[in-house]
Symmetry: C2
Subunit: 277 residues, 2 copies
């Protein structure tokens, strides 16, 4: 496993990789969710590249860029046994040098949900992912279903911009109590951590109702809302029941759909989702 | 020489090309300027791909998209003797299918000059060039110096987005009277055609003054303006003397600079430029 900083070193090392290359883009502080993406990439590709970069352009001015957890040594130790070939860990100056001025934007898919609350977020995501794609030139790229809108946006970008890359969206990895793994779970203090289990309970309650035949999207959202309301530490930002591909809110669930939410648990912002199909 | 329409056929044909690949992106209706790019690509690369696509997204609502000259058969005949390997001639539906929503934007370099007069133009250019780069995956891409701002913008985009592509900017090809070759020269009717020779005369007069020691940018712009003013068929849109790399207007010429202009000759919009170095 080779750790690389500069773009020219990355290009040189990339040239030496044989066969199909899988990319797992991360912001570091790896958890079991990231490791599951890396294991899947390792199974499907001859070589695996992991990028670790806390991308400033996807954080809003009042968000958690400066306190986002970072621990490269810990990350490298976690990856070492998995057979990762290259780790690219560039500096912000390498990724966004003086005079940087190019942005990739996906339009309608980035407007609702996360995009409505975090206006410049997806522009930062699609730009850094384009840069990673061009730098690493992978055959496949691995993303988590936990960031469902991100996955939909990147899939749209790949299609629209003709990237010759296959995207794999991997299942959300959860703690024993159902909490979706996230580097931001580190922020949960004291009683906020057990309280956060309510997110998956709420989504699961609605999914059970769906399995029992409920197709009214408003009723499904209400089940999520009412379950969340039983936990006073939780403040809801949105609960959505939307078409899986367009992310448009539904009246009636038909075909593959996405039930998603964003909440504050104390001072920590969390998102989660399940699919209905 | 193989002519291809769909993206999947292009990808399949691209796989079969050996060694280095040069891309010459065009909007068709080829002239000697395009052919010079193709010859240069052929000299420098083992395989040459030419794209022919009149890109709707780089035309403004009141511009000449519908009347832009098109003649594929003529273009293919001109390319046949040059050893072009692949010609990609997609439809607008292939390039921008229903639901298309992704755009690439370069910021400060697209604001002055052409960008000030044609607000969405460069967004269309950088988006189609990104799509062409991803579809063709060339090692080198060839553009004309005649579209100097376009060249600067694409060079910035290549650098910012980490495209592993070398850009070659090739000299402007001119008619006997100095008029820069352009597919839009077809529009020049009657006395407009000889009148259009004043553009290069004006730029050359300023370039001579520069060679004679003139370094005041305002004086150089004035020489261009005054020469253009001798031709009543010409209406000036802008005359610029700017830094070659940043396109910022100069007070004093130091280092490589760009002297550029846009005018209407009758109803035809023309641009031209020379470098000062």
């Amino acid at each position: 496993m080779k750790t690389i900083t500069t773009l020219s070193d990355l290009r040189a090392a990339r040239q030496l990789l044989h066969g199909s290359v899988g990319l797992v883009p991360t912001m570091g502080y790896l958890h079991e969710g990231h490791l599951s993406l890396i294991r899947r990439a390792k199974m499907e590709c001859e070589s695996v590249v992991v990028s670790i970069f806390v991308n400033p352009s996807q954080f809003g001015a009042n968000e958690d860029l400066s306190k986002y957890p970072r621990d490269l040594k810990r990350d490298l130790n976690l990856m070492e046994p998995l057979g990762v070939d290259l780790v690219w860990n560039p500096t912000a100056e390498i990724v966004y040098p003086a005079g940087y001025q190019t942005w990739v934007e996906v339009e309608s898919l980035t407007r609702p949900l996360e995009g409505a609350i975090r206006p410049a977020h997806f522009r930062g995501v699609t730009t850094i992912v384009t840069k990673l794609f061009n730098a690493v030139q992978p055959h496949k790229a691995y993303f988590g279903q936990k960031d469902a809108q991100q996955a939909a946006v990147i899939q749209q970008m790949i299609r629209d911009l003709n990237f010759p890359i296959e995207m794999e969206i991997c299942p959300t990895t959860r703690e024993a109590d159902g909490l979706a793994m996230s580097s931001r779970n580190q922020y949960l203090q004291g009683a906020d951590r057990p309280a956060a289990a309510i997110l998956f309970k709420a989504l699961s309650a609605a999914k059970s109702a769906y399995a029992g035949g409920e197709r009214n999207a408003k009723n499904l959202r209400n089940i999520v809302q009412e379950t969340l309301a039983t936990e006073p530490r939780v403040q809801v930002q949105y609960v959505s029941c939307a078409d899986y591909h367009t992310l448009s809110e539904l009246d009636t669930v038909r075909g593959k759909s996405l039930l998603s939410l964003a909440v504050m648990v104390g001072k920590t912002r969390l998102i989660d989702n399940v699919t209905l199909e």
